[in-house]
C-alpha cells in the first residue's frame, strides 16, 4: 500500500484556554488523506478543543496558549489566514440552534459560498445539488428553526459542503438526533467518505460511525490514551468499555435487562382514559384518544418521531397544559391540571433553562423555604447525587453532568409521584449515561414512577420496563422491554415505524 499524504499533522501539541486549565497535553496525531477518524472519550477530555485546532477556531477565535506544531496540508496553522479555513475545512456542530446564521434553508446552505465570493450562479447550482443529495429540496424555502433536528443537521452538513472543503470536522453531530435521523446522517457521511474527503468526528455514540471508521482515537484528560482499529474496539469486552467510559460500539443484545416488572406492586399510579391533548387552547390536537397507565415504581420509555407530541404530552401530564378531552387519574382519583401541578415533575433536556439561583443549595431550597424539613431533605439528596461538595458553587460553574444532577435533585425535592425526564442521556458519554441509568433505577426503587422521553436505546435497555411508541396522533404500539421483545424494540427505535 502506498503511503497516503498527511492532511493534518499535530506534533507535541499542548493548548490552554485563557484563564483555564490545560486542555490538550502533548498530542501527536496525523490524519491522512481520505481517512475517517472517530475521536471519542469522556466529556471534558479535550475532544472539542482538538477539533477547534483543525477548523481554525483555535487560536484566533478561542484564544489561549498553543505549544507544538499543527500543520494543515504541510502549512503551520499560524500562517493560515483565520478567515480562509472555511475553504479547506467544513465544520458541523452539535447544537443546531446556534450554528445557523440565516433564517431559511437555501440561504444557510449558500452562506459560505457567498462569504467567499463564489459566483452566484455556481452557488445556486451547488445549493440545488446539495439539497437534492440530502433530500432537502422540498425544504429549501423553509425556515431553519422550524425544521426537525434531523433536518437541521442535514442543512448543517450541506452548508459545510458548499465551498467543497477537503476536510470535515464535526463535534457530536448526532447528539440531538433520534436513531432514524442518525442513520441518515451516517449515509451522508458515507457519501463524503466515498468522495475521498478526510473526516474527523468527535462523538460519544459509536455504533453508527464504526462501520465507516478507519481509526478510533480515545482521549482522556487532554491526552490520547488509546487508538483502535474498528475491529479492535469491537473485540473489547464490556468491562473494558465501561472502564473507558464508552458507549456500546454496536447496537447489540444487552447482557442484562432493565428492572424486572414488579409483580409484587401492581398498583396503578396514573391512568389516562381517552385523553386528547393540544399544545395550546386554539391549536389542533396533536394526540387523540390516548389511554395507558403507569404503575408505582415503574420506568416507562416514550419514543416516536419528531413532532409526535411527546413533549406536549409531558407538559400536559405535569399540569402545565389542560387536556382537551378525556380524564387523567392519579392514584385512582381524577386530577385536573391544577392538581397535577407539583405532583408530577418534568426535567428538561437542557439544564441551562432550569437553574435560577446563585448556588446549588439555594437552587434546591427555592420554593421550599417555609418547609421545616427542607434543609434535611436537600442535604440527603445532595449527598446521594454526589453534589454535596459543590453545594456553595454557582450552578453555571458546574460541569454538564453535575448541572443535570442538580436538575434531578430540584425535581426530587418536590417529592413527586411521577418524574418525567426529557432525553436525559442525549449527548452524554458512556460513564455519565450509565450513571443516569443507575440513578433512574434508584429513583424508581424508592417508589417514584418514571417516564422517560428518549431515543437512546442504551437507556431504554438499561432502565426501562416498557416502551410506548407515539406516532400519527396516537399511541401506536406498546412493548415490554425484555429479552423476548429485543429485536422489535430496537427496530422500532431505528426506523420509527411500527411493524
Amino acid at each position: 500500500m502506498t503511503r497516503m499524504q498527511a492532511v493534518i499533522e499535530m506534533k507535541d501539541v499542548s493548548f490552554q484556554y485563557n484563564n483555564a486549565q490545560e486542555q490538550l497535553k502533548h498530542i501527536d496525531l496525523t490524519l491522512y488523506e481520505g481517512e475517517f477518524v472517530i475521536l471519542t472519550g469522556p466529556s471534558g477530555s479535550g475532544k472539542t478543543t482538538l477539533t477547534r485546532l483543525v477548523n481554525g477556531l483555535i487560536p484566533s477565535f478561542y484564544e489561549g496558549r498553543l505549544n507544538g506544531s499543527v500543520l494543515l496540508r504541510g502549512k503551520p496553522i499560524e500562517e493560515i489566514e483565520p478567515w480562509s479555513f472555511g475553504r479547506m475545512v467544513g465544520s458541523v456542530f452539535q447544537d443546531s440552534r446556534s450554528q445557523f446564521f440565516t433564517s431559511i434553508v437555501q440561504d444557510e446552505i449558500a452562506f459560505g459560498g457567498e462569504n467567499y465570493g463564489m459566483e452566484p450562479e455556481d452557488i445556486r447550482l451547488k445549493v440545488k445539488g446539495l439539497a437534492a443529495e440530502s433530500g432537502l429540496t422540498p425544504l429549501l424555502l423553509s425556515e431553519v428553526h422550524k425544521l426537525s433536528s434531523g433536518e437541521k443537521q442535514k442543512v448543517a452538513v450541506a452548508s459545510a459542503r458548499v465551498t467543497d472543503p477537503e476536510i470535515f470536522v464535526m463535534d457530536e453531530p448526532s447528539a440531538n438526533l433520534d436513531m432514524a435521523a442518525t442513520g441518515q446522517l451516517a449515509d451522508i457521511l458515507a457519501g463524503l467518505k466515498s468522495e475521498g474527503k478526510t473526516l474527523l468526528i468527535a462523538e460519544h455514540r459509536l455504533y453508527y460511525l464504526l462501520p465507516l471508521a478507519d481509526r478510533v482515537i480515545y482521549m482522556r484528560d487532554g491526552k490520547i490514551e488509546a487508538e483502535w482499529m474498528p475491529e479492535e474496539l469491537l473485540a473489547l469486552p464490556d468491562e473494558k468499555l465501561e472502564a473507558y467510559g464508552l458507549r456500546s460500539p454496536v447496537v447489540k443484545r444487552p447482557v442484562s435487562f432493565g428492572l424486572d416488572s414488579k409483580e409484587g406492586r401492581p398498583q396503578e399510579r396514573m391512568t389516562l382514559r381517552g385523553v386528547t391533548i393540544s399544545p395550546g387552547k386554539f391549536k389542533p390536537a396533536i394526540l387523540k384518544d390516548i389511554s395507558f397507565s403507569l404503575k408505582i415504581g415503574e420506568v416507562t420509555a416514550i419514543t416516536g418521531p419528531n413532532g409526535a407530541g411527546k413533549t406536549t404530552l409531558a407538559k400536559t401530564l405535569c399540569g402545565l397544559l389542560r387536556e382537551a378531552a378525556g380524564e387523567i387519574l392519579i392514584n385512582g382519583s381524577r386530577a385536573a391540571a391544577k392538581e397535577r401541578l407539583g405532583k408530577l415533575w418534568f426535567v428538561m433536556q437542557d439544564s441551562d433553562y432550569q437553574l435560577f439561583s446563585d448556588s446549588v443549595w439555594n437552587e434546591l431550597m427555592l420554593g421550599h423555604e417555609r418547609e421545616a424539613d427542607a434543609a434535611e431533605r436537600a442535604e440527603s439528596l445532595l449527598r446521594r447525587l454526589d453534589l454535596w461538595e459543590v453545594r456553595d458553587r454557582h450552578p453555571a460553574s458546574l460541569s454538564g453532568g453535575q448541572k443535570q444532577r442538580v436538575t434531578f435533585a430540584v425535581g426530587l425535592m418536590n417529592r413527586p409521584d411521577i418524574l418525567i425526564l426529557d432525553e436525559p442521556t442525549s449527548g452524554l458519554d458512556g460513564e455519565n449515561m450509565r450513571r443516569v441509568v443507575k440513578l433512574i433505577r434508584e429513583i424508581a426503587a424508592s417508589g417514584v414512577t418514571v417516564l422517560v422521553i428518549t431515543h437512546d436505546y442504551e437507556l431504554v435497555y438499561g432502565a426501562c420496563q416498557r416502551l410506548l411508541f407515539f406516532k400519527d396522533h396516537g399511541l401506536e404500539t406498546e412493548h415490554p422491554v425484555s429479552a423476548a421483545h429485543y429485536p422489535e424494540v430496537i427496530r422500532l427505535m431505528q426506523t420509527l415505524q411500527a411493524g
Binding site: N55, G56, L57, F61, Y62, P82, W83, S84, F85, G86, R87, V89, S91, F93, D95, R97, S98, Q99, F100, F101, T102, S103, I104, Q106, D107, A110, F111, G112, G113, E114, N115, Y116, G117, M118, E119, P120, I123, R124, V127, E143, H145, A160, T163, K315, C318, L320, L341, G342, W345, F346, M348, D350, D352, Y353, Q354, L355, F356, L366, G367, V410
Partner: protein, 233 residues
C-alpha cells in the same frame, strides 16, 4: 403564500422611513388613514393575516381612546397617553412587517448594496435571526419557571418583582451568551470574516415595480396628509 408584488428590500426600508416621517408630522386625526394606506401596501404584498391582526389591534386602541376621552376619571389621562402613543406606533410597526419577512441572506445582500459597513450588517442580520430563537428560549425557560412557581405569568409573583425578574433574565442571559458565542464561532468557520468581495444568490435590483410602489405610496400619504390637514405641513 403568493406574493403579488415582490418589492426590493431597499424599497421596503424606504417605505418604513416614509411611514415614520408621515406619522411624525401627521395630525392625530389622520392616523387612521395612514394605517389604511399601510394596510393596502401590505395587502399588495400578500400579507393578510398579520395585517388583519394589526388592524384589529388599532381598532381596539381606538375604542379604548374613545372610552378614555369620555370618562371623567383623573387616572384615565395616563391611558390616553398610552393609546395615543400606541396608535402612532402601529403604522410604523406595520410597515416593517414586509421587511421582517425578507430572508436574512437577501436582506444582507441588499443592505450591502446601500453601502452599510459589514459590522453593522452582521449585527442587524444576527438580531433578526435571534428573535425567533429568543422566543423559543423564553418559552423553554417558562416551562420550568412555572413548575417551580417563579414564573412571570403567575400573579402571585408580581408581588416580588425583583426576584421574578431575576429568575426570568438570568437563565435567558446564560443561554444568550452561549448561543451568541457558538453562533459567532459557526459563522467564523464559514468565512464571515473573509475580506474579499462577497456575493449573493439573490439578484438585488430595483425595477419598475419598486418605482411604481414608492410613487404610489408617497402619493397616497401626501393625499391623506393634505386632505386631513397635516399639522406641521
Amino acid at each position: 403564500m403568493k406574493i403579488l408584488i415582490e418589492a426590493d428590500p431597499r424599497t421596503q426600508l424606504m417605505i418604513v422611513l416614509l411611514t415614520s416621517v408621515a406619522v411624525f408630522i401627521a395630525d392625530f386625526s389622520v392616523i387612521p388613514w395612514i394605517i389604511l394606506v399601510v394596510a393596502l401596501y401590505l395587502f399588495a404584498q400578500g400579507i393578510y393575516k398579520q395585517t388583519a391582526q394589526y388592524l384589529l389591534a388599532a381598532l381596539a386602541l381606538y375604542l379604548l381612546q374613545i372610552w378614555v376621552s369620555i370618562s371623567s376619571l383623573e387616572i384615565m389621562t395616563i391611558f390616553r397617553f398610552l393609546t395615543f402613543l400606541g396608535l402612532r406606533f402601529i403604522p410604523v410597526l406595520m410597515s416593517a412587517l414586509a421587511l421582517a419577512r425578507v430572508p436574512s441572506g437577501k436582506l444582507i445582500a441588499s443592505l450591502r448594496k446601500i453601502g452599510l459597513p459589514m459590522g453593522l450588517l452582521v449585527t442587524l442580520a444576527v438580531s433578526f435571526r435571534f428573535m425567533p430563537v429568543m422566543k423559543l428560549e423564553y418559552e423553554a425557560i417558562q416551562i420550568s419557571a412555572r413548575l417551580r412557581g417563579v414564573s412571570v405569568v403567575s400573579p402571585k409573583n408580581w408581588l416580588r418583582p425583583l426576584s421574578t425578574f431575576e429568575y426570568t433574565i438570568v437563565p435567558l442571559m446564560m443561554r444568550s451568551l452561549k448561543i451568541s458565542d457558538e453562533l459567532a464561532a459557526s459563522a467564523t468557520t464559514k468565512g464571515i470574516d473573509h475580506p474579499g468581495r462577497k456575493t449573493s444568490i439573490y439578484q438585488i435590483s430595483l425595477g419598475w415595480r419598486d418605482a411604481v410602489l414608492t410613487i404610489a405610496y408617497i402619493g397616497l400619504l401626501v393625499a391623506v396628509l393634505v386632505k386631513g390637514g397635516g399639522g406641521a405641513l
